[in-house]
Symmetry: D2
Subunit: 342 residues, 4 copies
């Protein structure tokens, strides 16, 4: 950490800052700038607890040097991680997770699962517990939905990924699903992060609506700190001033995460744009940017979907996207067009 003093900071102010650092068993180094002094803190910052230098007299601001997450950081784990979900590997050749936004009935889910399987995707998605803005919107079939998902797995061999929204439901969801999804609205629901960290299943961690990449990786750290290293990140669009799209899909997050972290990252162009027309170009773009996979909403009949119809692909369109994605990722692999040097 570097502490920048005000131009008008007194000798006493600086002495107080130095004492605080030294009292914590750390070393302080003072640098005289043209108009301001700077104090560097040498050693493990955690010894300082939560001392807040910015509240001390004469301090203008502090600048963090080291990152607050460790387990999720590439610095401490230079090789890219591969997460194994019941035999399907995430990290490397892109995987596709697809299915309806919400599980609505056995028939709807089976129909969707068959299409997903036939098109060559590896995961079936579908919400049994739906976080909805209004209490009057459809909230999901809950445990019944989980049972349908498990049946669809039996039927197709697809892996199941589904959202868990409360600590209390973690064990129940973990009993049925292959992978637990933490949704955008719960990215900083720290109790839930700890609970999925102990559940013994890989976790798909969506980026919060207005989460920075730093906060997102800290959320992954919460899960990993409970002993679960199997975290996959999912970029799903962030909230900006633009209203044409439901969210602004931040594909640069793929490159940023690859640089800062060893964890795999996939992209959800359905939530990321909110418009089915934009799913295909954004799916291709995500793969070209180096994403480890995609999550795509597909509904046998989008107009009848109980949620998120406008962003769901029809089965025909989904097949076309799958076809393009397969060709594109094969091309990138064969040509060894690595999108990024880390």
């Amino acid at each position: 950490m570097v502490i920048i003093m005000n131009p008008e900071a007194t000798a006493e102010n600086i002495k107080a800052v130095i004492s605080t650092i030294e009292d914590a068993g750390l070393e302080a180094k003072v640098m005289d700038g043209a108009s301001q002094r700077i104090v560097g803190v040498i050693g493990d910052k955690r010894k300082l607890g939560d001392v807040t230098f910015e509240a001390m007299d004469g301090v203008e601001k502090t600048v963090a040097i080291s990152k607050s997450y460790k387990l999720a950081s590439r610095e401490f784990h230079p090789r890219s991680s591969v997460v194994d979900v019941a035999g399907v590997k995430i990290g490397g050749t892109p995987v596709v997770m697809s299915g309806p936004c919400a599980v609505e009935s056995r028939e709807q889910l089976f129909e969707a699962a068959d299409i997903v399987k036939k098109a060559g995707a590896q995961f079936l998605r579908g919400g049994a517990y739906k976080p909805r803005t209004s209490p009057y919107s459809f909230q999901g079939l809950e445990e019944q939905g989980l049972k349908f998902l498990a049946e669809a797995r039996e039927r197709t061999g697809l892996r199941i990924v589904t959202e868990v929204t409360t600590v209390e439901a973690v064990d129940r969801v973990a009993a049925y699903a292959d992978m637990l999804q933490v949704g955008a609205r719960n990215m900083q629901n720290f109790g839930l992060l700890k609970a999925v960290g102990k559940a013994g299943k890989p976790v798909l961690l969506k980026r919060g609506l207005a989460a920075t990449i730093d906060e997102w990786l800290n959320a992954a750290e919460y899960i990993m700190n409970e002993g679960n290293p199997d975290v996959v990140l999912c970029e799903r669009g962030i909230r900006t001033y633009e209203t044409y799209t439901r969210n602004t899909l931040d594909l640069s997050a793929v490159a940023a995460v690859k640089h800062l972290s060893h964890l795999p990252i996939i992209v959800d162009p359905s939530h990321g744009t909110g418009k089915w027309r934009m799913v295909q170009p954004m799916a291709y773009a995500a793969i070209a940017a180096g994403a480890d996979g995609l999550m795509i909403e597909m509904h046998p009949n989008p107009a009848k979907a109980l949620s998120d119809g406008p962003q769901s692909l029809t089965p025909e369109h989904f097949e076309r996207v799958m076809n393009g994605v397969k060709k594109l990722s094969a091309f990138l692999r064969e040509e060894q067009i690595a999108p990024m040097e880390i």
Copy 2:
């Protein structure tokens, strides 16, 4: 709801939209525009379930006319509500909630409580469960912190408001506190909203980091829909591109909420700015804008605070702010300078 068709929508497209509306037992009215047709939906939109017209062929977009929240809406409850918290009324003459960000020890809390009481505030705040970005930051004293808060109430007569972060802890916190706080990161933790809606205590609902006013009032609706009408909203700054302040305090939310809802609203200038220097001007501005109260962080020794020191006032500064707030609200009351006609 109004459904706007594409200029190139066919007669079949429009027929399909109309059938969907009529099948739900509602009335459809078609309006021919210069280049596009518009279909109005007459009747209770809830009958439509979650039909998503935007996924139907020929539909360009839909525009919601009625609001999705009812219980929180001023439309259905024209008179401003007053929430009674163990005898202290919120709604009208502004109240002040103050104390440290986190309960750190009995001594620290008692010292803070005495200052808060002496300065004339009505509520003691202090976190026993702290949601923190990093798992390595101080997470709060938990139940021990709640006990200290209850003791501080005995000592001073102040009402206690404190955050609850998990469903599992709701009953425990409700056993000690007079008012349950739902923090910004949990504003759309719907399980938690339902739980505090059943806990039998008034709720302070902070605005989410990137929540629209509409989403915020829908979050209040979740609580009220469980039978708890005692919700107070708290504006605490939203996330924008500006980095000078920790958040951007949206004081226009006070006027917006007063227009759209009957619920009381208070303002937290400490989190809203992240800088102690800005607490005083923003506290005055909030009162002048018509806020029903303030939440202000104060710490006996901000530089030693285990969290959020830079935004905590010293006791001396807090007293000055309290003094100004009292004079200002008395002036506004006497002069009958109503900030807003609703």
Copy 3:
């Protein structure tokens, strides 16, 4: 346009709205909703001038149905446009514009131009007039820079694209350049838009820092309305709360623009991310999303660059990116992987 009345709007309020519409020679249609009335306006909205219904009593809000731009709209020009810049076509096979952020010297520019040419790009970019946040930063070589650019064109045959920042400089820049660039900060400098609309040269219109797609297309409309149909749009990142990247590159804008407009669109991953490491993945992503080209900063020696060094590629890295881009666009063309159905 649709006018939504308040639930408490009176018969007089509605009558006043209808009169205003009819007085303008348009037709008004009233629709009775469950709780609110809606008034539709039939006919050419421009007859209304700038009447602002939202200021009339009883009006809650208005909803625009038709778009405010026409010349830039795909609705009125269904086929995608191709812009010819001195024989190089933009729209279809992607083009690449590259070079240093600023023209610094003849040597620097010639060195850059040779590298750009050799790698297979079609355009040389380089700023002679630099809009800089601080008045103390390097502001460009001005006319001398334009001369160096023209010399570099003689030398290499590359087309020249360079920014113009003032109305007064438009003719001078147009005398040297093949394409005039309007920068992000000037996207709503309407005087400049009109001036480049009359300059007789194709225009590259960058998206404003916080411009919506609608505002951007309206800015294009300003240029086209002066008789210049040759506008190419350039997505260069928007301002959001995320600070890891300099801007948030909004690749979904490629798909949005393709849907709403017939104009070509290219992408600038250098400004869009502000980090050279992210240029390659975002360049590939842009091509896969269907962009008609790229603008990439390259500097013979980024560390010595007088501006924007952190986001400039070295010559070696630029060659790798060009190589990948060429292969990727050939693949997409051969496989007929159209990113989007419009």
Copy 4:
């Protein structure tokens, strides 16, 4: 400036950074952190020109210590400035600027001017040159509008403030107006900033739609650097994700500017909210936050306004606001409730 090296930076990398600093005649100080080295730059950073350390190998990021603006900074000018506009002082007792968004006719303007004068405001505002998103919207009466404004000054004695949108129009506007307004869309139109810096009239500089406070003060620096010290800032709302209001009025900018700069700052609650209902509470809040004045849109007949009707007050409402503002500022002055210690 402080340069933070990567953990894996080599001795050569650090040597190169040090050489670059020393070659510029500055001093480099190296600090060894726990995992990373930090290099401090001692001396006047301007000697470095635009060297971009972030493009050098081994450099993670740089942190600016000193601000890029000087003339606008309170650091170099501790006393708050007062700007004299034809005898009316801005800085201290709040002033009010009011009038219609656009000058529409002599009658409309005179009617407005009489109301503004009678209510006790000091400035008449009204646009003669209107920057409009669409080229088809009303663009202003141009020079005829300026003449009406000058006539209204003769009639009422009010000072005239009006927007100038092009370099070419600066002299013309300066010939009629007492104060030149630079609008939000032109805040980084650097040619215009330089031109108004030479025009010999005080300047009202509105904050850009998505400008940081740092960029805003740098824009003021452009004007002051041309020899014009008479700059008044105007907060008018920033662009955020919230759509209920037209912009998000950032009242904390008042406190931030007061701390960072000596320049006066006023607030425009009309553009800041886009809703006339919110003008009154936000006007009071601005005064309580310490603003040096207000800019408020008022139209004799808002429903007939050629632009921005929804945010214009009626004459009656304007009088009420003026009355409240006068009482409130007198109260704050008498009670010596300084909103902020700088």
